[in-house]
């Protein structure tokens, strides 16, 4: 049985990769990719604790996580394409209409 610390450590590092991409990238598409990495880190945690406690709730929440990621990607990419039509750019630093 794989120790829980290994899996949670891997999840933490993957989360760190996602946050790094989220903060470093300017393109909205890259930001969405980083969000997917973060969601996967959360899913790894769910499955790890479900495996460790021999409990199925974590698996169900992983499935919900995947479905929510699908919804998020669909709406996020729709917004991205729409914003690209407006300003001809997906640079998140150039969309300043709502910035104070």
């Amino acid at each position: 049985m794989i120790p829980l610390v290994w899996v949670t450590g891997l999840s933490m590092l993957l989360f760190a990769c996602g946050v790094f991409g989220l903060l470093m990238q300017k393109s909205a598409l890259r930001v969405l990719i980083a969000v997917e990495l973060i969601l996967n880190a959360a899913g790894i945690n769910f499955v790890a604790f479900a495996h460790y406690h021999q409990n199925g709730d974590g698996l169900v929440f992983t499935l919900f996580n995947i479905a929510l990621a699908a919804a998020e990607a669909a709406v996020g990419l729709g917004i991205l394409i729409h914003s690209y039509r407006h300003v001809r750019s997906v640079d998140v630093t150039k969309s300043t209409a709502l910035r104070w």
Binding site: M1, I2, P3, W6, V7, L10, L13, L14, C17, G18, F20, G21, M24, Q25, K26, S27, L29, R30, L32, I33, A34, E36, L37, N40, G43, I44, V47, A48, A50, H51, G56, D57, L59, V60, T62, L63, F64, I66, A67, L68, A69, A70, A71, E72, A73, A74, V75, L77, G78, I79, L80, I81, H82, Y84, R85, H86, S89, V90, D91
Partner: protein
Amino acid sequence: MSTASPGEAVAFFTIAAIILASGLASSLARRTFHSVMFLGVTLVAVAALYILLGSPIVGVLQILVYVGGILTLFVFAVMFVAGDETETDDSPTVAGRGVRTTFALSLAANLVLLWTIILAPGAIGSLGKLLPGGTLVAFLLVAIVLGGLAYALYRMSWTGKLALSVSLSLGALLIGAVAATTPWMGMGAPEAIGPAGAPIEEADLLADLLFGHYVLAFEILGVLLTAAMIGALVIARPLGQEPDESHYHKTGGATLAATMHVSDPIAQASTLPPAPAASPATASTSPSPPPTPATAGLSRPEADA
């Protein structure tokens, strides 16, 4: 505290290395398309980790939904918004050829890994119980991996060959470790080996929870997915197709109003300028016109007025 067997440890650390390397490369890659491809490698490796942690159904669903659906969406989005924004000039860079090499390498390692995990009965949850033709699928995977590796070795530079040989040795090490720690002989008959029916128990547990205790959340999730799909369609609609009233009355609304005998003289007079020229003839011949000709039905109240 439980300790991992050597095979499990090697499998876990290989998967962890692939997840971290491709996740970092997904955040660091210069081109957006490479970033998406590295995200795909990460997703497949996370699915392999799910299978390693004893829940192959969640792993298979991860591959189906994430790689089959979300990654395709991302690739389409890259295609739509490509152009000047694909290069991010001030981000840390990974050389393009190196990215390609690493991508091919990690994809091949992923496939080898999946093959090992699927075929390893006993220690790791075996898909052989779920798939009757699991060995055939595994051999097809191996053929694909070997063909891809041979093609990559033929095409790539010296560095790529070095990296590929490292990858091959890593895969061989993994296969050897798993084969050493698990009974390897039961490839044809996996039900004879290991804890009996672990994947089937997982399916039972998951089905009981998903359609029992969590059924309300499951239904709400279905509504959410439908709403997200409709919302994405509405948001991503082309800019010229705003739902203005004249467009609606000219196409769909006209026939609807004609068939339902709905008279709205103001809207019809504004939307149908050429109709009054033909309207007196039709209005005089038939006081109650049939609903099928849309222009005649629409112009009738105006002619009466």
